[in-house]
Symmetry: C2
Subunit: 221 residues, 2 copies
């Protein structure tokens, strides 16, 4: 069985429809980040060597990852940024526009709402919520701050696929519960709260301090 799959892949480089392994999907996502930014800077091509410097992923592995789906590069030159972006988006099936609801209109919430970091990758913050009645109704950018009670309706109307939590740890679980109830399957948690959710819901917790500890280990050692 394994042999058969290997033969198929050898014959047909792109196993379209096959589910990518976790590792490959994670790496492709990171290439996307660098390519997006390199394009913004006016670059037209990039080599696996350069991609490696920015992602800390071995250049051979980058070439290997990409060549599994087709021949996207030009020997002696590198990869065309624009076309590689399109190819990877196609592979990840994330070419579309995706709507985000943001929770918490404090410093962090405002920073996220005004940052290009999500917009650059096809995510749009279409709604902001806050539990503080004094803040509800305010405008942040072009968005009015909603009360939490409007969540269910907004999620349905605006086709929201991701909830981003920029609330204090104490408030995070309640918002998560409401998101789950409204049918949202991906939660991005900027608080340190450990969230309890049903198995079909994915929580990604941002952990800058953990990333720092990790970097520090290699600096100290």
């Amino acid at each position: 069985m394994v042999d058969v799959i290997e033969e198929l892949e050898a014959a047909e480089p792109s196993p379209v429809g096959e589910r990518l392994s976790l590792g490959v999907a994670a790496r492709l996502s990171r290439y996307l980040q660098v390519l997006t930014q390199a394009r913004k800077m006016g670059r037209e091509t990039i080599s696996s060597q350069e991609l490696s410097e920015y992602t800390h992923i071995n250049p051979t592995q980058i070439r290997r990852d990409l060549s599994g789906f087709g021949k996207f590069g030009k020997r002696g030159v590198g990869y065309n940024i624009e076309s590689l972006l399109a190819e990877i988006r196609k592979i990840l099936r994330t070419s579309g526009q995706h709507n985000i609801a943001l929770f918490g209109a404090g410093n962090l919430g405002q920073a996220i709402a005004n940052s290009p970091i999500f917009a650059d990758h096809g995510f749009e913050v279409v709604a902001i919520f806050d539990s503080d009645p004094a803040v509800v109704g305010n405008e942040i950018g072009e968005l009015r701050v909603h009360a939490l009670d409007e969540l269910q309706a907004v999620v349905a109307d605006d086709e929201i696929v991701v909830g981003v939590l920029a609330v204090p740890a104490e408030a995070a679980q309640e918002v998560a519960d409401r998101l789950v109830k409204a049918g949202v399957k991906i939660i991005f948690n900027y608080s340190e709260q450990l969230l309890q959710v049903p198995p079909e819901v994915t929580v990604h917790t941002s952990s800058p301090a953990v990333d720092l500890l990790f970097a520090l280990y290699f600096y100290l050692a």
Copy 2:
């Protein structure tokens, strides 16, 4: 040679002084995050199963990772959170206090300065910088906002090991250059800017949008 090393490890479970592999160090850092938060919630023990739910790391691998350094768990019970925290900190050699300089006193900078997310892991923001003369001198929490020109002196005086960039993309490279000049070896970049630094400096770029794309792939597939 390989056989000799394997024998040594079998005899002496904790290869103290040995450099951890990237993967192990990354996973240990993540256990630290969950343990820290679980302790905050008043928990006293935790099982590999629970750790797995919060980290998305296979429970067998968690037990394997830990048992490589000693027998920290109790069968039928789980791991004592307090003592496991101490053990992992010892393994990662990051038990101490580490000083951070924060750049950018805008929404994101203020959010970071006021968040417990770094403090919980032994990082303290000891200095804030901003390039806007109108902001320099203001107080954020208990810290006065410095001008960028004071960077070199502050890094030396306050033993700063990490620079956190919460500045617009356009300003990030200049701050990075100054940090490098001042001898800082770890830069945490919250902007989308691709930073050019010498090889001995580590840049970690925060990429929430990339993490979201990754989560979305598995949701859509």
